[in-house]
């Protein structure tokens, strides 16, 4: 078998070609990655198959040749200058040197003339789909050898397997990147939608001070909690609610609820009547009821050194009044969830708040954070609130924030109103 010189070096690639080739090397992101079983198996197989001591998967970098796998050679990289792989990647096909000591292409190469004593080299470029040679699969011996045409084909097939592995890794990385991108989009969408369901800023109401919090359990889903502060002729109405479910459908219901309440508040209706209207609007809007919400609605009318409040509940935890003296009491009469069936009625409960008193409205996620909806968790909540009696609305909210753990199952919202 004569030495195959079909692989005479072609003209030197231009600098811009080499820049593009290096960009391809970067794209596959394989340089300096840890050893990988798939490539180890291929070089081991190549060494056995061709009965050579050394088989290498190399990647040609700017100024070095890095070995992704190096069977039979305890070296991880060499300089690019003497590397035969650097010559091999200039070819379109296999580059075979059967006796390097006499081959004019290699006889002065330090790897050949020097201590290493390389005599046989056969390398096949690892060519990408778009035609860039990243490196080689090569076999090396310290004895001269002949390589039959059939063996060259086998080496090319093995190089194809190496390339398939590299393509597989590239596409896996792309999937991960796409996945991350689409998750980011979902989070952005959820946040934008969420923002549209909450007041951008709370109105200023004479004689009242507000603080609000919203802790979202899942960043990529729209939360089901909402709150609102609606100015009225006599003061304001404050609302907190929890729409059952998450995501787009829940968000649509939240929007319906928020604006129905706002519209109903234009009438001089009591909270119970406003909730009855909301209930019927939702029950009729969704023919096959799938969704409902719970809500607490408080009408607040500031008075001299205090305020009168009327509260109505629809399946929602009772708001809590924190007196400036430290006493804590619940307000509201239990009534059904809103929107599941029409014709449900609700009940008003009224109270007088004094200067420095605080009304705390919250969603059931707060109770779940404390440990449940039982007397014990109510006691914890009351004790915690009692410890910030006389504080500002923000101070009360800050204290409640401390109750929220890391492993939230549900959103938590609260709205604090303090009487100035």
């Amino acid at each position: 078998v004569s030495t195959d010189l079909r692989s005479t070096a072609t003209s030197a690639q231009s600098a811009s070609d080499e820049a593009q080739r290096l960009a391809a090397v970067r794209r596959y992101d394989v340089l300096d990655t840890p050893p990988d079983g798939a490539f180890e198996r291929i070089t081991s197989l190549a060494a056995t198959l061709f009965k050579v001591p050394i088989a290498i998967v190399s990647i040609v970098d700017t100024d070095r040749i890095w070995f992704k796998s190096h069977h039979g050679l305890d070296v991880e990289q060499i300089d690019r200058a003497p590397g035969l792989c650097a010559s091999a990647i200039l070819q379109d096909g296999p580059w075979v040197v059967e006796d390097a000591a006499v081959d004019p292409r290699t006889l002065t190469n330090p790897l050949v003339a020097g201590d290493f004593g390389l005599r046989f080299y056969a390398g096949v470029p690892l060519q990408t789909n778009d035609g860039f040679n990243l490196g080689t699969l090569c076999i090396i011996d310290k004895e001269p050898r002949e390589l039959a045409a059939r063996e060259v084909e086998m080496l090319e097939d093995l190089a194809g397997v190496v390339m398939d592995e590299l393509e597989l890794r590239l596409s896996a990385r792309r999937s991960v990147a796409l996945e991350a991108e689409s998750r980011q989009m979902a989070e952005d969408l959820a946040r934008t939608l969420q923002d549209s369901l909450l007041p951008l800023e709370l109105p200023a109401v004479r004689g009242l001070e507000f603080a609000t919090r919203y802790h979202v359990a899942f960043r990529d889903r729209v939360g089901g909690d909402f709150y609102d502060v609606i100015p009225t002729d006599a003061g304001c109405a404050v609302v907190i609610g929890d729409v059952c479910g998450k995501g787009a459908k829940a968000a649509a219901l939240t929007g319906t609820a928020r604006w129905t309440v706002r519209t109903a508040s234009l009438n001089a209706w009591t909270p119970a009547k406003i909730l009855a209207r909301l209930n019927d609007v939702i029950a009729r809007a969704y023919e096959n009821p799938e969704r409902y919400l719970t809500i607490a609605f408080a009408d607040i009318r500031p008075r001299e050194a205090g305020a009168d409040i009327i509260v109505s509940l629809g399946g929602h935890p009772h708001p809590v009044i924190l007196r400036h003296t430290g006493a804590v009491e619940r307000i509201g009469v239990t009534a059904p969830i809103v929107g599941w069936k029409s014709g449900v009625s609700f009940t008003d409960a009224s109270a007088r708040l004094n200067s420095g008193d605080v009304l705390v409205l919250f969603t059931d996620g707060l109770q779940d954070s404390i440990g449940g909806r039982d007397a014990a968790s109510d006691a914890v909540l009351h004790e915690v609130l009692g410890s910030v009696a006389g504080g500002t609305a923000e101070e009360v909210a800050d204290r409640l924030d401390q109750l929220i753990g890391d492993d939230m199952r549900d959103d938590v919202a609260f709205l604090i109103v303090r009487i100035a």
């Binding site: 479910g245 059904p336 909806r373």
Partner: protein, 106 residues
């Protein structure tokens, strides 16, 4: 504080299917409840469904919706539907949501 997975165990006697619910019924697991009821109702000869909630370790508002949906499904089929609820977290959930009297009890 999670006691873990939801498990549903249906047994039928005298045309009444009893579904024992155990574990957590929350946002992630709740949809399985109406699915199970739909599967139960697809069998011939079922005249009533009882949901036994004695071993539920946690239930939130998603679980309440699942109960309401299960009730709707049975209503559509003309099947009776009852809950078995011992005093505890689930009973309080139904009470506070104002829907305790929307259900029949065993």
């Amino acid at each position: 504080v999670s006691d873990g997975e939801l498990s549903l165990d249906a047994t039928t006697a005298d045309s009444i299917c009893r579904v024992a619910v155990a574990g957590d019924v929350d946002l992630l697991t709740a949809p399985r409840l109406p699915e199970e009821i739909a599967a139960v109702l697809s069998k011939n000869g079922i005249q009533g469904v009882v949901l036994d909630l004695a071993d539920v370790s946690f239930m939130d508002s998603s679980g309440l919706r699942a109960l309401l949906q299960a009730q709707e499904l049975t209503k559509e089929r003309g099947t009776t539907f009852a809950l078995s609820v011992p005093p505890g977290q689930v009973a309080r959930l139904l009470e506070l949501a104002g829907v305790a009297d929307w259900f029949d009890y065993e």
